[in-house]
């Protein structure tokens, strides 16, 4: 149908190539059939937030020309061992389908997926122009799989194994990069436990002039660092290995020289077990640092403060709570550009505080760092007053995650719940996208969240709330909610069923140790065909128990693919007759 507004498809595709946001392209594809078609053929990258929300064949059939794919598997709480081993999230079916459909695929980014060596070998064989492999919090592969990548991906730019679990078969996989291979730009092997063949690593670093990011693993000791740094003075991001060897004057001066040569360094990490005496070796490059991850370093507060005082341009800081309130005061006065702060607990399993880190540290930073917008903070006490102060100081928060180590801890000053404090957070921080609650909380805080947190996309709830009203406030009030994860909170059937349709607008809902009955799950699953309602129960077959029995864990997500075929024996779907689901155990890895 000719119209003044219709362009040849190639022109449309060219125009669409300037749209980068998937949401924009999604909107464009809804305008009319020719725009849908143009988008379909011109889409180059896809983000699949839940690997079970659609099947691999439907992805390749909708978008036949992808160059880059990002897929996420297990729910977030899998990070904390709440999802049993064998739950799912297998990458192989995707690899298999894409190996045929996308010979020109360049980039694969996976998060919380089970990736087998076979899948990695398939990647190596199938994609001639493969460039980027990021495996974040993945598992299921060994260094044999990495060897296959190294040996076959001639144009590899980035190999990032961000905290994945890698089975060590041999440290010689690094040697499998051919001598002619020079394209590496980024290598992150910090999660690999065993030693990597160091001479091979040195040679690799030497022959890759574009290497800008290198993160080593613990096994690389400090005296090896200077030779690596001297071979890669162009590095922008560097992660050390262990720095615990006794300080040797020669090693130390070598280190000073080597770091000084890396004028472009902006980001440092690693520093496992670092001895504070080494830290001054970094002083020459501290001024330029924008990112500093010392969250594996047991450096005491005064030494940390000394280091941080050298880093006025810091934008992102990750530390252990050894920094203490005093160290955070130093941060507040020095790091005026700070945007993100994460403070992790050094000893999370004891009740008493082992360090002087309280809510005051965060209050200081909120006061001194006007650009602060992302916080993850573990501590043992907090107060409504502190939360209100922080909220007023930092109205631009996008991510606020607080964790008080002991569940149900009230305001330590007033012994009240922290409802008002978090209420102030959501009231002042209108751009808040991610929130993790902490401490003693009643239904009241959820009413505040439902009322004010209109841009909230992800909410984490633990040991909070009193009744279903709380869950109802969230589901009915948070317009932008995509992911909701709840544990150990007394929420049940009523709020869940009353907000069933909301669940189709979200990516997923996780509830564990709550008060949802098996009957409600069955009801929801049967009534909502576009939701997968999965009950995880390792002790028993919930089908054999009465409907009013509470489920252990519940994972609900929207899906176009229907119930999945790779459920292990401890996962029941409530979508259909379960005996039919049980028998179709076609496991694919």
């Amino acid at each position: 149908m000719a119209s003044p507004l219709s362009f040849p498809e190639e022109v449309l595709e060219h125009i669409f190539s300037y749209l980068t946001l998937p949401s924009d392209l999604n909107s464009a594809s809804l305008v009319c059939k020719s725009w849908y078609s143009a988008d379909r053929y011109s889409r180059r990258s896809a983000f699949v937030g839940n690997c079970y929300s659609l099947s691999p064949p439907s992805l390749v059939s909708r978008f036949p020309n992808l160059r880059s794919v990002e897929i996420k598997g297990k729910p977030h709480f899998a990070d904390f061992n709440l999802v049993p081993e064998g739950w799912g999230g297998y990458f192989y079916p995707w690899a298999r389908t894409m190996s045929v459909a996308y010979p020109w695929l360049r980039e694969i980014r996976l998060k919380r997926m089970v990736v087998s060596d076979e899948a990695l070998e398939l990647i190596g064989r199938s994609f001639a122009n493969f460039r980027v492999l990021v495996l974040a919090f993945c598992e299921g592969f060994s260094t044999d799989g990495l060897a296959a990548i190294a040996a076959n991906c001639r144009n590899l730019r980035e190999l990032d194994l961000r905290e994945s679990e890698v089975e060590d078969s041999s440290g010689h996989w690094i040697s499998r990069f051919p001598d002619s291979f020079t394209s590496l730009e980024s290598l992150n092997i910090s999660c690999i436990a065993a030693e990597v063949n160091f001479p091979a690593l040195e040679r690799l670093v030497s022959r890759c002039p574009n290497l800008r990011s290198l993160r080593l693993n613990r096994a690389v000791s400090i005296e090896h660092l200077p030779s690596l740094l001297r071979r890669a003075p162009q590095l922008v991001d560097f992660g050390t290995g262990t720095c615990s060897a006794e300080v040797h004057p020669e090693v130390y001066s070598n280190l000073v020289g080597a770091f000084a040569g890396c004028r472009g360094l902006r980001s440092l990490s690693g520093f496992w077990d670092v001895i504070p005496a080494y830290l001054p070796a970094l002083y020459s490059i501290c001024f330029g640092l924008t990112t500093l991850n010392l969250s594996y370093s047991t450096i005491p507060s005064p030494d940390l403060a000394n280091l941080i005082n050298q880093c006025p341009n810091l934008q992102r800081l990750w530390v252990l709570d050894y920094i203490e309130d005093s160290g955070l005061e130093a941060v507040a006065s020095t790091c005026k550009d700070l945007q993100e702060l994460r403070v992790f607990p050094s000893d999370p399993f004891i009740h008493e505080a082992n360090v002087q880190l309280t809510e005051q540290g965060l209050v200081h930073v909120s006061l001194g760092c006007p650009k602060l917008h992302s916080v993850l903070y573990f501590c043992r006490q907090f107060s409504n007053a502190a939360l209100m102060t922080i909220a007023q100081n930092c109205p631009n928060f996008t991510r606020f995650r607080l964790c008080i180590i002991e569940p149900h801890t009230p305001d330590y000053l007033t012994h009240e719940p922290l409802d008002m404090g978090f209420g102030a957070i959501v009231q002042h921080c209108r751009d808040l996208r991610r929130l993790s609650l902490a401490g003693l909380l009643t239904d009241r805080v959820f009413e505040y969240i439902g009322t004010y947190a209109k841009k909230l996309e992800m909410l984490s709830v633990a040991f909070a709330g009193d009744t279903d009203a709380a869950l109802h406030h969230i589901l009915s009030g948070c317009d932008s909610l995509r992911k909701l994860e709840i544990r150990d909170s007394p929420f049940g059937d009523i709020a869940l069923l009353a907000n069933a349709s909301k669940l189709e607008t979200m990516r997923s809902l996780w509830m564990s140790s709550c008060s949802v009955s098996f009957g409600a799950c069955k009801f929801l699953g049967q009534r909502m065909p576009r939701l997968n309602v999965e009950v995880i129960d390792e002790s028993n077959d919930p089908c054999s128990r009465p409907d009013n029995c509470l489920v252990e864990k519940l994972y609900i997500y929207r899906s176009l693919a229907g119930p999945r075929f790779d459920m292990p024996e401890f996962v029941w779907t409530a979508n259909e007759d379960n005996s039919a689901m049980r028998s179709s155990l076609a496991l694919s890895y």
């Binding site: 990070d79 904390f80 061992n81 299921g140 905290e163 078969s169 615990s244 077990d273 594996y296 047991t298 005491p300 507060s301 050894y322 992790f344 000893d347 999370p348 399993f349 004891i350 009740h351 008493e352 082992n354 964790c403 569940p407 149900h408 801890t409 007033t414 012994h415 719940p417 008002m420 003693l440 009643t442 239904d443 009241r444 009413e447 009322t451 009744t467 279903d468 009203a469 009915s476 009030g477 544990r487 049940g492 059937d493 009523i494 709020a495 069923l497 009353a498 069933a500 349709s501 008060s515 009955s517 009957g519 409600a520 009465p546 009013n548 029995c549 024996e569 155990l585 496991l587 890895y589």
Partner: protein, 268 residues
Amino acid sequence: MPSREAKGGGQEERKLELRLAPPGEPNNHLGDGNNKEVAGLLPERSRLPPPPTTMTTTPQTRFSLDISGGKDDDDGFKKPLNTSSQKRSAPGPLVGWPPIRSFRKNNIAAAAAATTPNNNSPQKTNPSTHDHKAPPACENPTEETNGKLKGGGSMFVKINMEGVGIGRKVDLMAYDSYDKLFSAVDVLFRGLLEGQRDKGGVVGELEPINGGEYTLVYEDNEGDRMLLGDVPWIMFLSTVKRLRVIKKTSQLSSQCAGGDRHDNNPTR
């Protein structure tokens, strides 16, 4: 500090009512008009923890929950934990709490081992808390503690069973002896074996896992395969990397490193 609504605060009460509609709007249907069905078909709850307020469900077309009913803060929020006490023993370990990734937890444990009196110890560790520290999941052996470690540390290691595609994970911190570990493994894999039986797959007899057709071995930090029970439990904890349940008949062939790794990475 503001307290909860007093009894009979009508306006407030209405705002806090749980209805099948956004707050403040008339009774719109949410979702697919299942409201009446929901009210009628909801199963009765069983064994809920007692909430501080009472919940009443009224059988009307408007499905509402009255959650007002002024309770005092003091009253409602008495939790089992006595918050005024400073020195309180840690409660039973919670799974996955605090929310810290395994990678970080294992590194904490390793760092704790590193901060002995000989090394640079940044903090004055209360000696009585040593019992609470989990031993490192890697090379450094710790001093002997009393067998069972309290405090919630966990140490998840993978365990695979020959013939069963999917491995599992066990938290070795949950046990204080080999016997308890054997029983737990027994329970864990018995279910899997029965499941395989139903599908007509390869299966062993319903014997105890250890001592019957199968035996339990582990791989240590040097990659060697060892029988369980040879070293003291604590030393086992500090060197174990993963566990395997293997058939006795194939024990010889599985002595080579990486012998039956293909079980773990099937093509399909």
